[in-house]
């Protein structure tokens, strides 16, 4: 072997060795090693508990001003949307369309909660008239308490009326209902936390430096950082949700053993979304991919004569390796138009003559 060949071999092995070593260190230490690494998520994550089962984010400003949403304002859901927004504004004084820039939500089912439903909190950043909001909530029966250095406005949930005993089947006992309190507080100027009282108080605790936030949950943050640049996303533990949902065994056995799930999407002129799931092992992921592939093939065959659906189905792309399964979709606005045109129109107002 000549000297030139020997040096070439050494350089080549050096490149491979340095590359593998860097990758190995990054794998165990977990640093991104790149300016293009995924972002660490919104700041508001530091006010969610470390035990959060599901974490979600939405850039409300971008979604509300998107072309797609402007199209949907004229859709059949318009009245339902406006009613919901109006009711929320009447209760809290917050106009979703103009006052909120972005929201981060957390759901924590690990603590049990009442009725096993878990507790949730939504952190909204925007422009809020604190005095007006507090006054409005007091009008609706809320009371204000001091917690650490924050004012927490709490409204007790009204329980539905007890069912008529004559109508209740003895075989199906009614679910005992315990009231959950709903609270709101201004964690800092421009940031409101609303949700179950326990988590709102926890957010205040985290603001004052006590407790562990979602940022310390490495498993969760690793998946948040791996998300793309969508303006809406959610990450969570599917297996924990399934365990809390008390699904019958016959049904639960048929659900794939998914551990983590992540959904991210970008709403602008259309909708680009990606859903990924991690399973317990590679065999489960392979089976899940096979099932999804089968459904995709069937959907493509079924929609071959329906152009409005075909474009949607054609944009579905399955991928994933190891124990991950990912499904992405890209739906331009024209597809929504076509789908809306294909849907049956709602009956005209005024009733049947």
């Amino acid at each position: 072997m000549t000297v030139r060949t020997r040096y070439f071999a050494i350089c080549s092995l050096l490149v491979v060795g340095v590359g593998l070593s860097t990758g190995l260190v990054a794998y165990y230490v977990g640093f991104p090693t790149s300016a293009f690494a995924g972002s660490s998520g919104p700041d508001e994550l530091r006010y969610l508990p470390a035990t959060s089962t599901v974490v979600a984010f939405a850039n409300v400003q971008e979604v509300m001003t998107s072309e797609l949403r402007q199209h949907f304002r004229e859709s059949v859901l318009q009245s339902a949307q406006e009613n919901g927004q109006r009711e929320f504004q009447e209760q809290t004084g917050i106009n979703i369309e103009t006052d909120i820039d972005r929201v981060v939500a957390g759901l924590d089912v690990s603590g049990g909660g009442t009725n096993g439903q878990g507790t949730g909190v939504v952190l909204a950043r925007g422009r809020f008239d604190e005095v007006r909001i507090e006054a409005l909530m007091r009008e609706h029966g809320a009371h204000v308490d001091a917690y650490k250095d924050k004012r927490i406005i709490t409204a007790e949930q009204k329980l539905p009326a007890a069912p008529d005993p004559a109508l209740v089947s003895p075989a199906i006992p009614p679910v005992p209902q315990t009231p959950q309190s709903f609270s709101l507080t201004f964690v800092e100027p421009g940031l409101v936390a609303l949700g179950t009282t326990a988590l709102v108080q926890h957010a205040v605790d985290l603001h004052s430096g006590g407790g562990e936030s979602a940022l310390t949950n490495e498993d969760l943050m690793e998946r948040v950082k791996a998300l793309g640049n969508g303006n809406v996303w959610a990450v969570g533990r599917f297996d924990v949700l399934r365990a809390r949902a008390k699904i019958p065994d016959a049904v639960a056995d048929r659900i794939p053993p998914i551990t983590w799930f992540a959904v991210s999407g970008r709403v602008d002129s259309g909708l680009q979304a990606a859903l990924s799931a991690e399973t317990r092992d590679e065999e489960s992921a392979k089976n899940l991919r096979d099932v999804v592939r089968g459904f995709l093939a069937l959907a493509k065959l079924q929609t071959s004569s329906k152009p409005e659906y075909q474009r949607f189905v054609d944009s579905l792309e399955l991928s994933g390796t190891g124990n991950k399964v990912a499904l992405s979709v890209d739906v331009p606005a024209q597809v929504f138009e076509a789908l809306r045109a294909a849907l049956p129109k709602p009956p005209a107002q005024g009733g049947i003559k």
Partner: protein
């Protein structure tokens, strides 16, 4: 007086002088283009990503890990590895015959088969020394786009192993083809891009007579679905477990090299005047 050198010692001696010959030959310009083009492509992709020009393809904006997977599957597994196997493997003995230097090798007191083994080892070293660093460079250029180097490291290690195994398997098969047949390049191309691609689409046992069937079981990236037909095909595809694939590929390498050695020992190479 010493007897003939041992088989493996002879092979190592042939490997020693063949490696430099192979690395600095004209054929290596072609190899450099094959491994350099993907690196250049990765640099362009990185520049596009920095400028925000990365396209949105069938879903969310294409991320680095997905891009790397596509490059590995479509470029390296389906094209670069078979092409290198064909062009280098078939020429191991054929070049010596064409250059009329095979006589000098066969008049040495070494087993003829060790010449083939030594040249095969030099091919393996030459290709691996060029291919693996290019994959590592592409990984560090592409994966950080919306992804994490640490998170994708197991895939990189698996990809490097898979490429090395593929290079070894294809090289052994085409070394045998080159040692046995008179026009090995054409046969090699037909096998790699005709037989293997066609048989994969046919349900049944024929696909087990290919190298790519076992190689793609090692590929950690999901194969892209281009159409309903390929979706249905992959839905019915049964890939062998990784350990079976590795065992079969090792068996292919050993069988092909043994057959190649047998061909070299028994065939009469007629030099054209």
């Amino acid at each position: 007086m010493n007897g003939r050198p041992a088989f493996f010692a002879s092979a190592l001696r042939v490997f020693d002088f063949s490696l430099g010959q192979m690395l600095w030959s004209r054929r290596s310009v072609f190899l450099a283009l094959l491994v350099g083009a993907p690196v250049l492509l990765a640099v362009v992709v990185r520049i596009f990503a920095a400028a925000g020009w990365l396209p949105i393809v069938n879903g969310t904006q294409v991320g680095g890990p997905a891009l790397f997977g596509v490059l590995m599957w479509l470029l390296f597994v389906r094209f670069v590895v078979p092409v290198l196997g064909v062009f280098y493997g078939t020429s191991l003995m054929a070049d010596e015959v064409d250059d009329k230097t095979i006589t000098y090798l066969f008049t040495r007191p070494v087993p003829r088969a060790s010449v083939l083994l030594g040249k095969y080892l030099s091919y393996l070293a030459c290709v691996v020394l060029l291919l693996l660093p290019s994959i590592v460079i592409i990984y560090f250029l592409v994966v950080p786009i919306g992804g994490s180097i640490g998170q994708g490291f197991p895939q990189l290690a698996a990809d490097l192993g898979m490429v090395a195994v593929g290079v070894a398997a294809y090289g052994a098969v085409f070394a045998f083809v080159g040692a046995w047949l008179k026009r090995p390049l054409i046969v090699g191309l037909v096998f790699a891009f005709g037989w293997e691609q066609t048989v994969l689409l046919i349900p049944g046992y024929l696909k087990r007579l290919t190298v790519v069937y076992y190689l793609q079981a090692l590929v950690p990236h999901a194969m892209p679905q281009e159409s309903a037909l390929s979706l249905l095909m992959t839905a019915f595809q049964d890939l062998p477990p990784v350990w079976v694939s590795l065992l079969c590929l090792a068996g292919i390498v050993m069988l092909a090299l043994w057959l190649g050695g047998w061909a070299v020992e028994n065939r009469e190479y007629v030099l054209e005047q």
